[in-house]
Subunit: 377 residues, 2 copies
Amino acid sequence: MNKPHREFAGSGRIEVNHAGLMALAAFLFSGTLFAKPAEDDAKLLKKAREVFEPLPKDAATGEFPVSTDRVNLGRMLFFDPRISIDGSGSCLHCHQPALYGADALPKSRGVHDQVAPRNAPTVLNAGLQFKIHWDGVFENVEEQATKALLGPGFGNPDHTAAMARVKAIPGYSEMFQKAFPGESDSMTAHNWGKAIGAYERTLVTPSRFDEYLGGESDALSAVERRGLSTFIDTGCAQCHDGPAIGGGRFEKFGVVNDYWNETGSKEIDQGRFKITNDSADLYQFKVAGLRNVAMTPPYFHDGSVGTLTEAVRIMAKVQLGTDISENDTSDVVAFLRSLTGKLPDDFASAPVLPPAAFDPMLSGTASKAVSRPKPEE
Amino acid sequence: MNKPHREFAGSGRIEVNHAGLMALAAFLFSGTLFAKPAEDDAKLLKKAREVFEPLPKDAATGEFPVSTDRVNLGRMLFFDPRISIDGSGSCLHCHQPALYGADALPKSRGVHDQVAPRNAPTVLNAGLQFKIHWDGVFENVEEQATKALLGPGFGNPDHTAAMARVKAIPGYSEMFQKAFPGESDSMTAHNWGKAIGAYERTLVTPSRFDEYLGGESDALSAVERRGLSTFIDTGCAQCHDGPAIGGGRFEKFGVVNDYWNETGSKEIDQGRFKITNDSADLYQFKVAGLRNVAMTPPYFHDGSVGTLTEAVRIMAKVQLGTDISENDTSDVVAFLRSLTGKLPDDFASAPVLPPAAFDPMLSGTASKAVSRPKPEE
């Protein structure tokens, strides 16, 4: 772990020369010499604890446990491309460990050159969010995984066809039976989703910010704490709160100004309105969770913005009506970087899958495999 | 590492009951009670050492060193999809750690739904082969990687466009400078290939067979040794030899019988003839390296055969004119399984890539990204 910079303590003899003066001037200009005293640090920590929570060790619930058998099975299924219609798609394809569980694309590429309708968020800490997908159409990661089998990432015509692919791979049958004991037919799409979900619920990434919330005030540098303070005082934390620093509610994107004027989005996305047809839901999206946000550009539901600095500026402008200064933006970005945790070992590292060839003839999908479905977008 | 089964030693009192008699009968039937004596083991080891070699610790050469800086850079580039025309392709996409460096497909899927012309072999131990690709069109892994930037896996229109993508990602510039010191412009497609190649040359996977070759005769079980003996005596080892158990020469596929009558291949592939137009090269392919072969179905240049048992039967038939027995096949398969090594840690585990969004507008490739090139096949 990187140790945060200590502030200038003022003790000790200072040798002044030209370079020293220049450095001192830079120091003064940056404001770190006039850092807030310790009382303010205590206040900031108290304020932070009122809106944020440290990450739990996993996102298990009573309904969705993370038993070892389920997690091991889910991890293998997550990494396995043979469940997709052409053998090239997988959970992994849009949620790559090397890219912190996302894919760096504005919108993901699925099988048969399909483009997903919205940006793929990281799978890390996703189990902590109150709904899944930008429009919250899925209640939990389990439901999302189950439905993904039929989406552009996998392209299966139905769940029977998808599970026929799973069943054709020797080894999975026993793993399903162990993960879902006592079920007469455990190899179902729902159990696929539950296994993947169990795995995803283990993918939490505590960072220095959690140490800070735990009381280690200097786990964040002075700049990061200033950014945290600005993040709270400007109003960002009104929505980006809780253990996932967001992911807990829907909000309109563009409270004060139309978002597309700032993001340069080519299409205007109506958000939850598309599902509910309720005008109150126009441009409503799930508030993004900001854990690891520095590692997962591009930003927003359409991946229209490539840098965190620009994303922070736009959020202040269109959500809060604030023209945030460059210094404040830079502080907030520094704070957001402190939300980057370590990749979980079981995510960074691939499991070894049971060897078996992808069978293009399975479930009569071969003829579909050479046709080209129209992209959903 | 799994310890091999010890053979029945014949000492000690044997309690005979019904179950014991049945087990003894099965034992006798399987032939292990009449295992060859130690002199034959010594002969087999000697014979094996005449055709095979243990894996070296890496596949570095004077021309292609595996310096830490090159390997680290190459590993990141290998895992990075942002160098492809639509941000979805990468070395990793067709060479997945979870699938032992292959993709389980008959033929790989590239960007824009393109299908590669032949089956993707594992990247593991590829640096040890004398040429690269089934037709040996590339001299080494470095050349293959460089050319792959323009193939169906990446889809770049030219190397300038490909390297513009690399240059757009902050962090790579410094890594190239470190990996290729003293070069005024180190961010070239050739150096991309050299870095990827350096990484690939570290991906060697010693197995129990290497311990056997080192003199530990019981590192292989009796069945595996019998399979090894059959593998040599039947003639397989005439071509599948050296440290990679193949990968060292071209041979005609179908020496005795036309291969497609046995593989059921839908298309007849002329092999090296397509490159050389020399009738002597008709149906000539590079002999496959058999390291980890049990982990990388399907088999042959067109992935037309899904199981190792069937692949062994076909090879005996069409290359050697032998109708190999089921028992012999099963022994050979047992031997081939002993060639499965451990995944290298730096391959099983993903590196963390410098965060940056894929930019579809780079190099004016955006308009091409929405068109659909004709598959090369």
